[in-house]
Amino acid sequence: MFRLLDIEFYKLRNSKYFWILLILFMIFLISVPISVNLFFETIRSNKMTREGRTLVNYVSFFYTEDLWHNLTYIYKLGTILLAFITMISITNEYNYKTIKQNIIDGLSKKEFLLSKIYMIIVLSLFVTFLVGIIGVVTGFLYSQTSDLSLIFENIKYLGFYFIYVLTFLLFSFFIANLIKKSGVSIAIMIFYIIMIEPIIVAISTYGLKIEWLSSFYPINGINNLISNPFSRHFFKDLNRFTLTPFFVSIFYIILYIYLTYKILKNRDL
C-alpha cells in the first residue's frame, strides 16, 4: 500500500497542475471564514436590522453548534477543484500512454487502480483534516463563546464532509476513466451536475411524483450528507436528520470502484 502511495504521490508532487489546484483549494478554504466574518462585521457596524432583530442573529454563521454544518456546507463547493486533480491525474496517464507503460513496467492493473484510489482516500483525509483545523481555529476566533467544548458539538459534519469528498472524487475519477480525455470528462461531469441530474430529479419528483427517489441520485444523494444549513432559519421543520445519505454514499463508493475496475480490466490499453 505504501509503495503504491509512494508511486502515485511521486507523480503528483512533480506535476504543476496538482500544486496549482491544491493551493487554489487552500486559498478557498481560508478565504471562506475570513470573508464571512467580514460580511457580518459590515452588517453589524451598519446596524442592519429586520423585524427588530439584527441580521447577525438571524443567520448565525459562527454559532458554535452550527459552525461545522455551515463550514462544511460551503466547503462542498471547493471539492470540484480536488475533482480536477483526480481527473487530470488519470486522463494524463491515458493521454501520454503512461498507464500502458506503468503496466508494462510491472504494475498490475489492480495495483495501478489501487494507487489512484489510495491517493483519493489520502487526499480526502488531508482536506478533511485541513477543514478540521480551520473549524477549530474559526470557532476560537469568531464564535464568541467561552465554552470551548461547544466547538466540538456537531463535529459529525466533518465526518460527513470526508464521505462527501471521497464519494465525489470517486465519481469524478470514474467519469475520467470512462472518457479518458481531460477536457471532455470535466465538461461532461459539470454538465451532468448542473443540467442532467437536476432535470432528472425534477422529472421524478414533480413529474412522476416519486419524491423519495431524489435521495438516491449520485449527486443529490451525497449532497444530502450536508444539507443546506441556512434554510433551517426559514423552514424549521425541514432539517430532519437521517442516515440515508450516508448509506447512499457508501453504496456509490463501492459502485464507482467496482465499475472503474471493470472498465480498466477489460480495456485494451
Binding site: I7, Y96, K100, I103, I104, D105, G106, L269
Partner: protein
C-alpha cells in the same frame, strides 16, 4: 536444451471485424535474439501487447519463464511498445526514478543505464525537450533499469535518422551479446537480419514462417549466369548435383543451388563442362528475398 523464456499457445485476438492474431503458437528460448517480422498491420504490436498484458487476448494463453503471466514476471522484462511513453514534464532522471519505484529496484541503477544510452549529461532536462532519437534511447534505458532477463523492443528504429538507427542497432547487438533474450518486432527485414538470430513471420495475424536467420540466409545459393550458348548452358547446369531451380530472365538465367555448394564449385563445374561464361554474378540471398518468397507462397 536451454530454458524456455516464453511459450504461447494458440493466442488469438479478435476485434469486431478482424482477427488481429490467429492461433499464434511459438516458443522463445533463453539467449535468443528473436525477430517478429511482418508488414505493418500484421499483428506484431498486438502480439507484444498481449504478452505484456496491456491487451486482453480473446483466447489462447502464454507463459513467461514457465511460471505465469502476472506483473511478477513482467518485472523481469524490460519493454517498449509503440514508441517511448513517459511523463512529458518530468526530467529523464525523474521518469527513470518513477520506473525504479514501479519495478522495485533502487535508484542506483539510473546513472548506469543513462550512461549506457549516452544520455547522462541530459538527465535533468525535461522529457518533452528530447529529440525522437533521445526519447527512444531513454526508453531503452528505462527497459534496462531492472537489469531484465528479456528485452522487448517494438519498432525501435521507427522514425529515426540513419545515425539514430545505427546507434540503436549497435545498442541492441551490445545488449544481446550480454546473453539477454531480445524480442524485436520490425517491418524492416534488413534490421531483423542484422540483429536477430531467430525469427518468425506474421501476415494478417497468422504465423507463416519460423526459422533461423543464418540458415535461411545461407541455405541456398543464387547465381546469375549467361553464355553465348544459352541452350547448352541450361542442359549442363541442370545436371549439377546441387541444382534446385532455374528462372529465365531476359539476358541470363537466375539459377538456384543448394546451400551446400559454393560459387567456386559451380564455376569449376562449368569450366569442366567447357561452357563459355559471359555473365557470372553471385546474388547474396538475403532475408528480403526469402521474406518476399514466403509472402508470395502464402497469398
Amino acid at each position: 536444451m536451454s530454458e524456455i523464456v516464453l511459450k504461447t499457445n494458440k493466442l488469438t485476438k479478435q476485434y469486431r471485424d478482424i482477427r488481429a492474431i490467429d492461433n499464434l503458437s511459438f516458443t522463445i528460448r533463453k539467449g535468443t535474439t528473436f525477430g517478429l517480422l511482418g508488414p505493418n498491420g500484421s499483428g506484431k504490436t498486438t502480439t507484444l501487447g498481449i504478452l505484456l498484458s496491456v491487451i486482453n487476448q480473446t483466447s489462447g494463453s502464454f507463459t513467461w519463464f514457465e511460471e505465469g503471466n502476472s506483473n511478477k514476471q513482467r518485472k523481469r522484462i524490460g519493454a517498449i511498445l509503440e514508441g517511448p511513453h513517459f511523463y512529458e514534464n518530468f526530467t529523464a532522471y525523474k521518469n527513470l526514478k518513477l520506473i525504479s519505484k514501479i519495478k522495485g529496484v533502487g535508484d542506483n541503477q539510473i546513472e548506469r543505464v543513462l550512461k549506457e544510452v549516452d544520455l547522462y549529461n541530459r538527465k535533468d532536462d525535461k522529457f518533452k525537450t528530447y529529440s525522437l532519437g533521445m526519447k527512444q534511447r531513454l526508453a531503452i534505458a528505462s527497459a534496462l533499469l531492472s537489469d531484465p532477463e528479456v528485452l522487448i523492443l517494438d519498432e525501435p528504429t521507427n522514425g529515426l535518422d540513419p545515425q539514430g538507427i545505427a546507434d540503436i542497432r549497435e545498442l541492441i547487438i551490445k545488449i544481446a551479446s550480454t546473453g539477454k533474450t531480445v524480442i524485436l518486432a520490425s517491418h524492416l527485414l534488413d534490421e531483423v537480419e542484422k540483429v536477430c538470430n531467430e525469427y518468425l513471420v506474421l501476415k494478417e495475424g497468422k504465423l507463416i514462417h519460423k526459422g533461423k536467420v543464418d540458415q535461411d540466409v545461407t541455405n541456398s545459393l543464387v547465381i546469375e549466369l549467361a553464355s553465348p550458348d544459352m541452350i547448352k548452358l541450361e542442359t549442363v547446369i541442370k545436371s549439377n548435383p546441387y541444382f534446385i531451380s532455374l528462372k529465365h530472365n531476359k539476358n541470363f538465367f537466375e539459377v538456384k543451388f543448394d546451400g551446400n555448394t559454393d560459387f567456386t564449385l559451380v564455376a569449376n563445374f562449368l569450366f569442366e563442362n567447357k561452357i563459355i561464361i559471359s555473365h557470372f554474378l553471385v546474388l547474396k540471398k538475403n532475408l528480403e528475398t526469402q521474406f518476399l518468397e514466403i509472402l508470395e507462397q502464402n497469398v
